[in-house]
């Protein structure tokens, strides 16, 4: 019998015990006595969310390929088990060996979104690991973080020993080899960290001093020792096909959020939307070859028995072999009763044809992400979609039988005016008008248009990293302006409007561009019972308002202030390819309402060329 960390009693008293037992198909089992390194990989959210994430699966597969390493998984216990673990003083355990996390060599935590930061403290505390790196002795695991939020790791700096800046495939082997050697030679944690600082992409926060100016902005960010680099270079996979397959994805027992095989077709993006962090930090765009993906898809489907497959990338329409790939998938899945879940594609004749082959036209809806209501603002954010694209695309779809349209927008973008805000319902009206211009016998009933808006969060390493956010009240005013203007439209009965929570957005903005001082706020909010902040039914602004009071931190300093062009940012020590001079150029171009060509049209010298990969090598440029 497999050992389980929790008694039957406990497992039968919590919701979905399968979250905590491991043992799924393709989960690995190794004897802890036979390995040198035990690496616990954590996604700090509930099992169903974490197991839907392909990055965790890739790293799990990759690390377990090493015979000397056992990589295990860990997710945030849901609140019911959280309570029991605290009451009974049971240390948090990994899924595979069901042994205490605190006895591992590494605890890796993926940082996918800002609102999971309090859950990181939960995981550490339940593991009975001191939350501050400085309080952790030799007996505790090395806590290492990575993922998109590691591009500004500073709010989390005191909790982590290392941040891994870049793509996981590149230097993990080096790091683990080094660790093994240090362990064999009985070197201290500190000696290991000093050596690790020599590896590209490894940021060890405690080796740096930060000083502040009287106005609260950063004065200097300097390494404490000579050997520690002052700039951390992001590590990047040059040729995507050299990365080995995710050979054995773990197949969960319970229904997870994304219960399907995910095929990563490329990394990076050519578009350069100015609000988008992923589109900037993951440059250059690098594709997998068609042959690679065909073999990959076959292997993954055969080995998991999944009934659905989806493609994953930014701007999937830009994948150069998309037509051939979909043609193969359509053929392969049809014979086997497997569904294809399409990514959001640019709406044109090609994508409509594919959509009609894989989806029930009556049920499925068209998705557009104009992000802004007017062409002027779309040019400001460099979103290369025009009103004509949307109107022509939707018209073509209406003729093919579609009658549901979803539109995604952002409010609070830099330079936004009330005219831009009102542009959102006006665009909806134009689409509706277009629809009703089709003769009655050629259209299918009423049109339904759903517009959703989030509030814009400025992110590090984007041309908008200098931008200010708005107050909660101003956000709500703009959302209501959309709503009220929508009610004045002729076809208002066909339209629906939804918008995100403004308070969560501001909190996200605080974390995204915060410095080391923000760590105190996170600890304080956590102690006030903030946890699972990304779950709207669990989130409460009270915990955070109390934390601001307790720490004396003024969130407005981080959110409502437009930055000076020469301000030192907390994340400036990271080199992620794109240069600051490029970002400044883009920030200025945005203010002239001008767009910038994409990577395939013209190289704009963003800085990612130095990685010598992907789209940068295409001869046309």
């Amino acid at each position: 019998m497999r050992k389980l960390a929790l008694s039957d009693d406990i497992l039968l008293s919590v919701d979905k015990p399968a979250r905590y037992i491991g043992g799924e198909l393709n989960s690995r089992d190794k004897n802890l006595d036979d390995v040198d390194i035990r690496f616990v990989m954590c996604f700090p959210d509930v099992y169903e969310i974490g197991m839907s994430h392909i990055g965790i699966q890739i790293l799990y597969d990759m690390l377990n390929r090493r015979e000397d390493t056992f990589c295990e998984r860990l997710f945030s216990p849901w609140v019911d088990l959280d309570k029991i673990l605290r009451e009974k003083n049971i240390p948090l355990f990994s899924l595979e060996s069901q042994e205490a996390v605190k006895d591992a060599d590494f605890l890796g935590i993926t940082l996918q979104y800002e609102m999971c930061y309090t859950n990181i403290l939960q995981v550490l505390e339940l593991s009975q690991i001191p939350i501050y790196a400085n309080d952790r002795g030799e007996e505790f695991p090395i806590v290492i973080g990575g993922g998109p939020c590691a591009y500004n790791p500073e709010p989390l700096a005191p909790f982590f020993d290392i941040f891994y800046i870049g793509e996981g495939e590149v230097v993990y082997d080096k790091l683990l080899d080094l660790y093994k050697e240090c362990k064999k030679n009985n070197l201290s944690k500190n000696e290991f960290l000093l050596k690790a600082a020599q590896i590209d992409g490894m940021y060890i926060p405690k080796f740096y001093d930060v000083t502040y100016k009287p106005d609260g902005t950063i004065d200097k960010f300097t390494p404490k020792y000579d050997k520690v680099p002052s700039v951390i270079h992001r590590v990047v996979v040059q040729n995507m096909d050299t990365v080995s397959y995710l050979s054995k994805p773990v197949v969960p027992f319970i229904k997870v959020t994304q219960d399907r095989v995910v095929l990563e077709i490329m990394r990076g993006c050519i578009r350069g939307c100015r609000f988008c962090q992923a589109g900037n930090v993951y440059r250059p765009q690098r594709e997998h070859s068609l042959e690679y993906l065909i073999n990959y898809a076959k292997t993954m489907l055969d080995i998991t028995g999944a009934e659905e497959i989806s493609l994953s990338s930014l701007s999937s329409s830009d994948y150069s072999q998309l037509g051939k790939l979909l043609e193969f998938l359509l053929e392969y899945t049809k014979e086997r009763g497997i569904n294809i879940s399409l990514p959001s594609l640019r709406i044109d004749a090609f994508s409509l044809d594919v959509m009609s082959k894989v989806q029930d036209v009556k049920k499925s809806s068209l998705t557009f992400a104009p992000e802004a209501g007017t062409q002027r603002l779309r040019d400001v954010i460099n979103k290369g979609i025009t009103e004509e694209d949307i109107l022509n695309g939707s018209m073509e779809a209406f003729k093919g039988g579609w009658n549901k349209v979803k539109l995604y927008f952002m409010l609070g973008l830099p330079t936004e005016t009330d005219e831009d805000v009102k542009g959102i319902p006006k665009l909806c009206e134009k689409i509706a008008k277009n629809y009703y211009s089709i003769p009655k016998d050629q259209r299918v009933g009423k049109i339904s248009i759903t517009a959703s808006s989030s509030f814009f969060v400025p992110k590090p390493f984007t041309p908008f990293q200098w931008a200010k956010m708005e107050t909660r009240d101003e956000y709500l005013r703009r959302a209501h302006l959309v709503k009220d203007t929508m009610r004045q439209q002729l076809n208002q009965k066909s339209m629906k409007y939804q918008y995100h929570d403004a308070e969560v957005t501001l909190l996200e903005g605080l974390m995204a561009r915060g410095d080391r001082k923000i760590a105190d706020v996170i600890v304080s909010a956590y102690k006030n019972s903030a946890m699972y902040d990304s779950w709207s039914d669990r989130f409460s602004m009270e915990y955070w308002n109390k934390a601001y009071e307790e720490t004396g931190i003024d969130p407005d300093f981080y959110t409502l202030r437009e930055r000076e062009i020469d301000e030192v940012f907390p994340w400036d020590f990271i080199d992620c390819g794109i240069t600051k001079s490029f970002l400044i150029r883009e920030w200025n171009t945005a203010h002239k309402d001008k767009i910038t060509p994409n990577c395939r049209q013209q190289c704009m010298g963003c800085g990612a060329r130095k990685y010598n990969g992907g789209v940068c090598l295409e001869s046309a440029n």
């Binding site: 039957d8 039968l12 037992i21 491991g22 043992g23 198909l25 393709n26 319970i254 028995g305 009763g337």
Partner: protein, 241 residues
Amino acid sequence: MKVRIKFEKTDHMRFIGHLDLMRYFQKAMRRADIPIKYSEGFSPHQIMSFGAPLSMGVSGLGEYMDIELKDESHISSKEAIDRLNSVMCTGMKITKFLQIPDDSKPAMALMDTADFRAEFKEHISQEKIKKAVDKLLSRESIFLTKVSKKKKKNEYGKFVEVETTNVTDIKPFIYKLEAVENGVFMHLSQGSTNNIKPAFVMDFLEEEGLEGAKRNKYCLYRLDMYTNEGKALDEYGCEII
């Protein structure tokens, strides 16, 4: 062709619920490339039905599911068992793959009785167990009180929760109750009427002074299922060669 599959669900799989078990097998059928038949219609699904669901926390050594194979296909029992077992996870094992008559009723409908074994986590002497069993069986009747909540319309036409108490004598439906090595063997009535849960019987044994019969002080196994003819569900099928 209709096929009845017998399988074991043990170890940590005892915490996998019935719906998740179905999803598990749908994927397993594809992994093993079993030529299973799909339903017609817009969203085709595999033709697959299960015997009575196991309660969470209970292991099964003789579980059943019925499937249908595609008309033109052929696969031998041995081949199918080998292929399925090569794609199972720990705690799941296929033991039989048998052809059943086309007019066969589904396993769920056929089940009339089942064997269970409770195994005590801490050792208890045979003598002690036997004493409690004998005491319970010497009762003239064993009254089980069930309180159920149902929604009913009240005089104003609104739905309100009404508690109903039901007392039944379950003694006639305990067909066999025996002390075995550090455990208890039970043969109980199952199905839509007179479904006797083994945990109820254990509760009564606790009443008779058997400390180990307290819930969570024993592991429970469902051993096999039988029809009203007294035959195990796998006795109606034959091996495919």
